[in-house]
């Protein structure tokens, strides 16, 4: 009896173990099919724009392209999920397998330059910029973000601002708080809000990058744009006293956040502000899209915004760009698409729907809401700083390690340990 039972369970076990890998395989099949085929004639546009506003923006852009070039077949090869993480994983395997998409979404800055350009996978676009006359149509700082060693490698389609403090206007009015501009004003306002029984600052760091996002705004506000940028070129060490001061500011900000921050994502945190349970939230301006499109709030009436403490004249820039990978079969078609993407019409078709502002300096202001108009003006005059949390300032490897150090810091709050982990990680900057 016992023997039979044992051999039965043994066979059963072998069956289960043998079937296990099959279920693991099925997930990779899905990504393959969504990656789509890159046959000779189709132009597959690879991105992670599958959310409400952004997908509409991409489709508007594709429609515009089809109007101008009706005989070129276009395929929207977007990969959903993980704020681009899934797409980047699919992209990496396609690039390494020499099966690149015709063009793909990539953040300007380190993600492009230290990633695909350094790997020798991108074509230069100097001639396209020249023939389209773009060199003075994009801000110089921005062209620098998509260039390496004097060559230009991608076309920016939009700009998001990272250093925005969103607040609930009625909560601010009820507690008699003015939008804070400096750290001192921020902490004073936070104390007042806490007394009034409102959570001063909403945070949702279930995905740790949101905490890094908050930290980078504290870094920018404490160091200023120039010193902030020097951190990533190695000209300024992370052991600098000012970095420590930034970490102390960050630590103090963390003392005002909602207790359940680690169970929320950024949308949940924004929702706390929308519902009036929390007063403020630091997030990039994609949060505006969430407030307006998903939660039906009114710009300025229901929620307001101000640059994060100490960053009034600065602009933490996150830019989505598209480039031309090496080894595609139809480079001329890709350039045609990029020329539409970089045109005024292209940028004005995409950005109002996506909720970002155009990368060009000569776009038509009337297409944008109050937030957009104000941000476009700020963008012209502010000094630009590349975002760390979104891969523009430093290579992904460094960002991953910073995310880990920040995730530990949020709980342990040990400033010295944070500084020393940042220093250790800075070896990966090169």
């Amino acid at each position: 009896m016992k023997g039979r039972l044992k051999s039965f369970t043994g066979w059963f076990l072998i069956l289960v173990l043998a079937l296990g890998p099959l279920s693991a395989c099925s997930s990779s099949d899905e990504t393959n099919s969504s990656g789509g085929s890159s046959s000779d004639e189709t132009l597959d546009i690879f991105s992670w724009w599958t959310g409400a506003g952004e997908e509409d923006g991409l489709n508007a852009l594709i429609d515009l392209f089809k109007e101008e070039y009706p005989d070129i077949e276009v395929e929207n090869a977007a990969v959903a999920g993980g704020a681009g993480t899934n797409a980047k994983a699919v992209l990496a395997s396609r690039m390494q397998g020499d099966d690149p998409p015709a063009t793909f979404q990539v953040h300007g800055g380190s993600e492009l330059n230290d990633g695909w350009v350094a790997a020798g996978k991108m074509e230069t676009l100097n001639d396209l910029y020249e023939s389209e006359g773009w060199e003075d149509k994009f801000p110089e700082d921005l062209i620098d973000l998509v260039s390496k060693d004097g060559d230009i490698y991608s076309v920016p389609v939009n700009i998001h601002r990272g250093n925005v403090l969103w607040y609930n206007t009625s909560v601010f009015e009820e507690s008699g708080v003015e939008p804070p501009k400096t750290f001192d004003e921020f902490f004073a306002a936070a104390d007042k809000l806490q007394e009034a029984g409102v959570t001063p600052l909403a945070l949702g760091d279930k995905e740790p990058w949101t905490a890094t996002h908050l930290f980078e705004t504290a870094l920018l506000g404490t160091l200023g744009a120039d010193d902030y940028k020097k951190l990533f070129t190695g000209e300024l060490s992370f052991s600098d006293p000012k970095v420590k001061e930034a970490a102390e500011n960050f630590k103090k900000m963390l003392s005002y956040v909602n207790e359940d921050h680690s169970s929320r994502n950024w949308q949940d945190a924004s929702q706390l502000v929308a519902d009036g349970e929390a007063a403020m939230n630091v997030m990039g301006d994609w949060a505006k899209g969430y407030f307006v499109n998903d939660l039906n709030l009114k710009v300025k009436d229901d929620f307001g915004w101000v640059a994060t403490p100490g960053t009034e004249e600065m602009f933490m820039v996150i830019t989505d760009t598209f480039g031309l990978p090496k080894g595609v079969s139809n480079p001329e078609d890709v350039k045609k698409f990029l020329s539409v993407l970089g045109s005024v019409e292209g940028q004005d078709a995409f950005n109002p729907l996506k909720g970002s502002i155009p990368a060009r300096v000569d776009a038509d202001l009337s297409n944008y809401d109050e937030y957009g108009k104000e941000t476009i003006e700020d963008f012209k005059s502010a000094s630009l700083a590349p975002s760390l949390a979104h891969g523009s300032a430093a290579p992904e490897g460094f960002v991953t390690k910073v995310n880990q150090a920040i995730n530990i810091f949020v709980t342990q709050q040990d400033v010295d340990q944070l500084i020393s982990s940042l220093e250790d990680a800075s070896g990966d900057l090169k």
């Binding site: 009896m1 016992k2 023997g3 039972l5 044992k6 051999s7 369970t9 043994g10 059963f12 076990l13 289960v16 173990l17 296990g20 890998p21 993480t85 980047k88 994983a89 990496a92 690039m95 390494q96 990633g115 695909w116 350094a118 790997a119 020798g120 760091d205 279930k206 995905e207 740790p208 207790e259 359940d260 921050h261 680690s262 169970s263 290579p395 992904e396 490897g397 960002v399 991953t400 390690k401 880990q404 995730n407 530990i408 949020v410 709980t411 342990q412």
Partner: protein
């Protein structure tokens, strides 16, 4: 065509030797394709992963220069990986114990010749049909500290932070981390047990049905009470099932990824992080391919510790 002719010639030579029958040849012919596929796509890639884990490939550009155990040394000195090992250890222990105990109790209750037994059997087994991702999302909301069951528990004065709790109990300093039971993991264990207990119920029920009534009768005749019948007679008979449950659950819990990824993510201070999540993030977010491969190898070895002795003993048993 070509393979057919070679096969035919092989058959001719073997027929002379008479050591292999036609049936054997047929079996081998059927097996060869799957042996080749498994050889390449399972063992070949396990070998490849092992090779990558010894290389310097920690950026987008592949770099296969040999660096020895550097990636492993980095991992074992890393706060996050140490936390992962601790979390996996306690998750596995709590998860397996709960699945065995709850599964056995439910199976014994079901075995009491109750009415509508198949209905209950299906209810217990049903969560197995769900994906871990579904379970993770549902339990994330059920055990969310500001919603879900906490709204009831708070009324009873039992407030819990569930998976956002960063407490480690009893928090003994060890390496860079505190060693002990991560309280946040209990929430994940509850979700995992909810999903997987149906499996052990089915296994134990099958086992209980295989115990002949005469054995129980005989024990009762010898003066054993019902508790003693279960403890001294039934449980020892069910031991091979318990071993199987342990092995199947261990290989699930040591490799767990989807449940954690959907339910909690790495967690504050990495209290709910596991090697699978770390491997995914470091490989595909950070482009640390060699580090990711090293994590994969460590996970494989951990599972092997459970599986290999079992396969060994069952092979001996059959021979």
């Amino acid at each position: 065509m070509k393979t057919e002719t070679t096969m035919r010639s092989v058959t001719v030579t073997t027929r002379k030797k008479r050591s292999l029958t036609k049936d054997h040849m047929l079996a081998i012919g059927f097996l060869i394709p799957s042996i080749l596929l498994v050889g390449v796509f399972v063992y070949g890639f396990i070998g490849w992963t092992g090779y990558v884990s010894l290389s310097n490939w920690n950026s987008l550009v592949p770099d296969f220069s040999f660096v020895g155990l550097k990636n492993y040394l980095y991992l074992f000195g890393d706060f996050r990986f140490q936390a992962d090992l601790r979390n996996t250890l306690f998750f596995t222990i709590m998860f397996i114990l709960a699945v065995i105990v709850v599964g056995q109790i439910l199976a014994i209750l079901l075995d009491q010749k109750i009415q509508q037994e198949s209905l209950f059997r299906n209810i217990f087994f049903f969560p197995m049909a769900l994906s871990f991702v579904v379970t993770g999302v549902v339990w994330q909301w059920l055990l969310n500290p500001s919603t879900g069951v906490n709204l009831f528990l708070a009324k009873l004065g039992l407030d819990s932070k569930w998976y956002t709790d960063t407490t480690i109990f009893p928090a003994i300093g060890w390496g860079k981390i505190e060693f002990g039971i991560p309280i946040a993991m209990i929430a994940v264990v509850i979700a995992a047990v909810w999903q997987m207990t149906g499996f052990s119920v089915a296994m134990y029920l099958a086992g209980l049905r295989g115990v002949p009534e005469e054995v129980r009768e005989a024990a009762r005749m010898d003066g054993a009470n019902e508790f003693q019948v279960y403890w001294k007679i039934i449980m020892p008979i069910l031991r091979p099932i318990t071993v199987s449950v342990i092995i199947i659950m261990a290989h699930i819990s040591l490799k767990i990824f989807d449940l954690i990824y959907a339910m909690t993510g790495p967690g504050a201070n990495f209290v709910t992080d596991v090697p699978g999540v770390y491997m995914y993030e470091t490989t595909f977010r950070g482009n640390y391919y060699a580090n990711g491969a090293a994590i994969a190898v460590v996970m494989l070895l951990a599972v092997a510790i459970f599986i290999v002795p079992y396969l060994w003993s069952s092979r001996k048993g059959e021979a």
